[in-house]
Symmetry: C2
Subunit: 750 residues, 2 copies
């Protein structure tokens, strides 16, 4: 494939644009089925308690109530380990998070649910459910949970220690270690060593649309679910698992999605709605409130990390060491794994040890959030690197360039990098007008940082049908969160030699397309795009056969160039040949189904200028540049959108966002007003620089761009704040909100 693209790299209007801006797009809350009931979930008022008794009799007796469900209504099956595409988990944990059984493990934990003829009756009925709790002490952070004598969440949770199952019951689900080289020798070779600890708060993805699910348990035993999800097949497989059904008995229709960022991968309401539908014989819809979303869905983990790095006199990093203790929330399976994969990924270091701790605490079970784990880790590493640069008197980008990971660099967790763009991102940061500009003014500081996300592959399926008017219909299974209908359509268009607008993409239900993994891991434009590429190639093969039939030659004698099929001077445009399909053998349908490897990680960098108000501690972002390696930017506007989105979320995480918990484990800011994400008024225009180091594993060189951009903002802002405060005091705890900044100001004053 030449890189002289006709469609790729252009900026067509998104296919779903009109529906989105005119309000026609249908979200889960828009579902309204005949005879539909409304569900309401009873949530735990305690962060940690034994459920001694649940009595639903009064709720059942209320007029208008049609069904009440608790964990006792799950089918009785032995516990087993399942893998729903996100790693191995006990089924009991998945079920336990859907409806608490025996204990509640966090404030907001679902305990029971009611279906009634309207949501008001359902809400009233929930209040009539009597639950007797025995309240236990709550542990809210990893260090607390790991402390001697800490309240234990799971009596049966035995710590896995360096790959071995121990007999020890604790809140540490797992302690693992990645190591390579000789760390002691590395530190011995170092002339400068910096070691610091860092803490980050629990934050939420903050998608605008709350979770929702509508389920119809049909008379033939099939369950149909409409919901807001990043992965319809994951929902299908999770429901099947939780409710002990074959996957083909579940059909999931993914509605439009109002944001996800990883938080719409887990399943919360869907099995509850399904059970309520089974009991009532009617469709049941449940929609979370914002409070439910904060308290009952999965935020990203808070973390406690220690990073130690050493450099020699030439500025070469000789050793790196990290201890990562990540909150899993109520059930094991935290984001410490990816944190360990990314913590030193930007650097070519020979001697590394990384210890990871997956720690359960009395908070909601954590979910993915844009490069999950990586921002927590980068917050540590990138500040330590910054401090080293200062100590060496080196430009912080130069230090990074000197140590940057490149093709052939091995990570402590195993993989060796293929072609990557870390150096190119750093060079682009350094060459940027922003980095070369004067900062000016007092109380100002500039910070830089880089970050990495490895991206994933996973299966995707696409079919393409040719219309007689020279357009094609493209069917895919990937929920479109960030414009992937278009970025996938563009890849098909490029192969077919038609325009993006001539491809009509549709995201269909799980009965109507081949298996497709989640929209997550920055995989969709990469993997589903590759499926579209394959399906388009399948179309081209067949179209050439038709042309060959008409021209009485063989398919391989027919050329396709820029949408024109030709052979010995004869030619058909794509549209001309499309018109002739009926008479040359029938419709043309192409299919592509892939499970690609080589997603090709993406590096991102940030240059940020801040100004601190020393009277109030308020931090103003003066200028912010996001740089990222897209491999190949299929639709540059959407790449920029991802970079801007990740940057803004990083800024919020850096400066303000957190689950503000009281000692009983109740989040006291569970509304968007109090949680206070940054708005357009709080921010400058986020500048973007797209770097393109093609991914050798993708036909167009695509790397996913959804995630790496959220990794560097928090440390870059921390590094900028360090300078804005005149040096000497580092903010090692997120959020770096006005009180934290004022504490830093005062600590300097003392």
């Amino acid at each position: 494939m030449s890189t002289n693209y006709r469609v790729i790299g252009t900026r067509p209007i998104r296919h779903d644009g009109a529906d989105k801006v005119t309000g026609r797009a249908l979200y889960g809350a828009d579902i309204n089925l005949a005879g539909m009931l409304h569900g309401y979930v009873l949530r735990s008022p305690h962060a940690h308690a034994i459920i001694k008794r649940i009595d639903t009799a009064k709720a059942r007796a209320l007029d208008g109530v049609k069904a009440v469900v608790t964990a006792a209504d799950f089918p009785v099956t032995p516990d087993r380990i399942v893998d729903l595409g996100e790693g191995e988990t006990p089924l009991s944990c998945i079920r336990g998070n859907v409806l608490a059984s025996g204990k509640v493990l966090y404030r907001g934990h679902a305990v029971a649910a009611v279906a009634a003829i309207n949501t008001h009756i359902a809400e009233e009925a929930v209040k009539l459910i009597e639950v007797e709790y025995e309240v236990l002490p709550a542990v809210l952070t990893a260090p607390e949970a790991m402390a001697e004598g800490a309240s234990i969440l799971h009596d049966t949770l035995k710590t896995k220690e360096l790959g071995e199952q121990t007999g020890r019951v604790s809140n540490v689900a797992e302690h693992f270690r990645h190591t390579m080289g000789d760390v002691a020798k590395g530190f011995a070779d170092a002339t400068v060593i910096v070691e610091r600890t860092f803490d980050t708060a629990t934050v939420h993805q903050g998608y605008i649309e709350p979770h929702n699910a509508t389920a119809l348990w049909n008379n033939d035993g099939r369950v149909h679910v409409w919901c807001s999800t990043q992965g319809s097949f994951v929902v299908r497989d999770t429901i099947a698992c939780v409710l002990d059904l074959p996957v083909s008995q579940v059909k999931v229709t993914p509605m439009e999605i109002g944001g996800g960022f990883g938080g719409k991968i887990p399943v919360y309401l869907e099995p509850v709605a399904a059970l309520l539908s089974k009991m009532s014989g009617r469709p049941v819809k449940i929609v979370m409130s914002r409070k439910d979303v904060f308290e009952g869905s999965g935020p990203t983990p808070g973390s406690h990390t220690r990073v130690k790095m050493g450099v020699n006199a030439e500025g070469k990093i000789t050793a790196a060491e990290a201890t990562l203790a990540f909150e899993a929330g109520a059930y094991p399976g935290a984001m410490v794994g990816p944190a360990a994969m990314t913590v030193f990924a930007a650097y070519d270091v020979a001697n590394v040890t990384i210890d990871g701790y997956d720690v359960v605490v009395n908070k909601p079970s954590t979910a993915a959030y844009r490069a999950p784990g990586a921002p927590n880790a980068a917050f540590a590493t990138e500040q330590v690197v910054d401090e080293i640069a200062e100590k060496l008197g080196m430009d912080p980008i130069d230090l990074r360039l000197k140590n940057a990971a490149k093709e052939g660099t091995r990570r402590a967790d195993g993989p060796k990098f293929r072609k990557i763009g870390c150096v190119e991102v750093l060079q682009a940061m350094k060459a940027s007008e922003h980095y070369r500009s004067e900062l000016g003014g007092p109380n100002r500081g500039r910070g830089v940082a880089v970050g990495f996300w490895f991206n994933v592959g996973l299966p995707s399926s696409v079919t393409i049908s040719v219309n007689a008017d020279g357009t094609v219909n493209l069917v895919e299974g990937s929920t479109d969160i960030g414009g992937t209908r278009t970025s996938i359509a563009m890849q098909a268009a490029e192969v077919l030699g038609i325009t993006a607008e001539q491809v009509r993409p549709t995201v269909v239900d799980t009965d109507s397309v081949g298996f497709t993994g989640v929209t997550g891991g920055s995989r969709t434009t990469f993997a589903t795009g590759m499926a579209a590429y394959e399906a388009a190639q399948d179309v081209v093969r067949q179209m050439k056969e038709r042309a060959a039939k008409i021209w009485e030659t063989t398919a391989d004698a027919v050329a396709l160039d820029a949408g024109v099929f030709s052979h010995e001077g004869k030619q058909f445009t794509f549209a001309e040949l499309a018109e002739k399909l009926g008479s040359t053998g029938g419709p043309v349908v192409g299919r592509g189904a892939v499970n690609p490897r080589g997603a090709g990680g993406s590096f991102a960098g940030v240059v940020v200028d801040v100004e601190v108000d020393p009277e109030t501690g308020k931090t103003t972002i003066l200028r912010f540049t996001s740089v990222q390696d897209a491999g190949k930017a299929i639709h540059p506007s959407y790449v920029e959108g991802q970079m801007q989105g990740g940057s803004v979320q990083g800024i919020g995480w850096a400066l303000n966002e957190e689950y503000y918990m009281n000692t009983e484990g109740t989040m006291t800011n569970s509304s968007l007003l109090d949680y206070r994400m940054p708005t357009a008024l709080d921010l400058p225009m986020i500048e973007t620089i797209i770097v393109e180091v093609p991914n050798p594993s993708h036909p167009f060189g695509v790397r996913g761009v959804g995630e790496a951009n959220i990794v560097p903002p928090t440390p870059a802002i921390a590094n900028a704040l360090y300078r804005a405060l005149g040096g000497g005091v580092r903010l090692t705890r997120l959020p770096m909100n006005p009180p934290a900044v004022m504490r830093a100001v005062w600590s300097k004053a003392n």
Copy 2:
């Protein structure tokens, strides 16, 4: 493929059964969109009139009215000839039938339509539309319309005479002739010649669900239509044509369909709803009343036919001649074409002339109705053959067997038969217990007849995705009227070696599947089944590749037998291999897209016993046996269902049904109460005998079975009545209702 089938020929429960019997299945009238308006159509009170003026101002001014549409709102484009899969037609005729322009041509002709916030206001508003008509004389039958000085429907309609365009304006759109051999010599060689004329009344398909359409003209210029149709792609292409849009700008979602029988192929309400939506900016739903259905949709033509046949002393038919004058209704394009193709198709006759006349009359534009045209023709031919048998003193089945069409027989319209089952059907009739039984009792008679339908191919597309639990999802574009989800799924199951229940078929919208022709022409189990066969083969090829990968061999070394993949003693069941797809390369999706020829016509025969009440003229069907060549019966229950359904419709057509018109051209029995189709209480159990003469053009030998079964009932009943009345008087006019029978009784008495 061996004929030792595991799935084909069994009777699994239909996939849509639960939804249908529990009321969950969603029909067009169930659609309810946010902000939806309700449409109402103003219909002509006259059968023939000039529209001098339409004033919609008062309707527009009514509170709650959001849009009013007339033919003036169609886009202005030059007239052109279009082919929407049913032959060439001027665009002006398609548009004219959707909304009358200049003239109304039948009572019930749509003139204007209103969209309002509810249907009551819409109905009120329609009454406020002022239309000034100049009423013209109406012509209601072909002979009337062909008469000298008849009122002319279309000033611009010039008769096409034997392939040549004449300058003559008349109600005869076309006169064509099929001829072969030397008819004069054939009659000269005959020892017995019978010539008679026959008339049949206009009858309706009588589907339970009225026409309906909901349209949303979206802000991006795309039109989405939900409707009850036999062919979603035909609706798409017709709307595109009528509204001058590219086909890819129209998306049609076929809802469940409550019967069609050919009558749900044309488009009536869809473009009207679309225009009203465009004007109002809101979705618009229109549902016909039963009266609208009778007066405003397409019935099957009334006809006037003359058949003359001669036989020699040995009982060999030496010549056959037919004149077929068929009512087209208001616009050209009647069913005289297929009538001419089928009129003598059951017989091997060397000398044949067939004259066909396509005649416009002031009745609704006719539509297909189960083997359209063939029953009208067979009503003539099969009575003439019966009369000849009587004259020769031959058993009527023996006479037919002596002259039966077989492989190699050429029809006067051109084609030579491949393998057909005419002889086998006649033999099965003769061998039937029914035919060998005693009739007994007075006023009873037994009749036989045969009929033919040629069936069609047309494009179909199917994709199949494999689920990890060993089931597959099948996506198709064929509206399922008679159980084709299952008959198509069964063909895929047979190839894959799984059960019918392990295939989950889904009928999707036009954006989500490759082009697929109408469910009509008895093609669906044949053609879409073939697409499913191809898609399943594509799956098998890929599954073998996966097994080969695991077993480190080549795909062609892997065998598949009865759902088990094997190689040198190693084996995987389909489900075992399905589980391993993720790890061996990703999902497996198969595709099949076909435009098959060789649909392989189907012959059907009837043996019927009747008893006449000489006091009232009431005819009782004592016993009725339907015999049909299915090629291969994929699902025998649905084949039997088709045979029983066609038989019952034939009985209704024979004995009672008709558009009872007054002289002004108003149908006076336009309700199901007055139209009076036969009910279960009127009928004995319809006995069925499936004959299987495999179609060599289909991998499983399938012939369509939807239509031929309606062809022989009317003449078989006429022949039975002839004998029940003691011979001597033939009923040559349909319906043969009590008044007609009494007239026959009286004519004998005089």
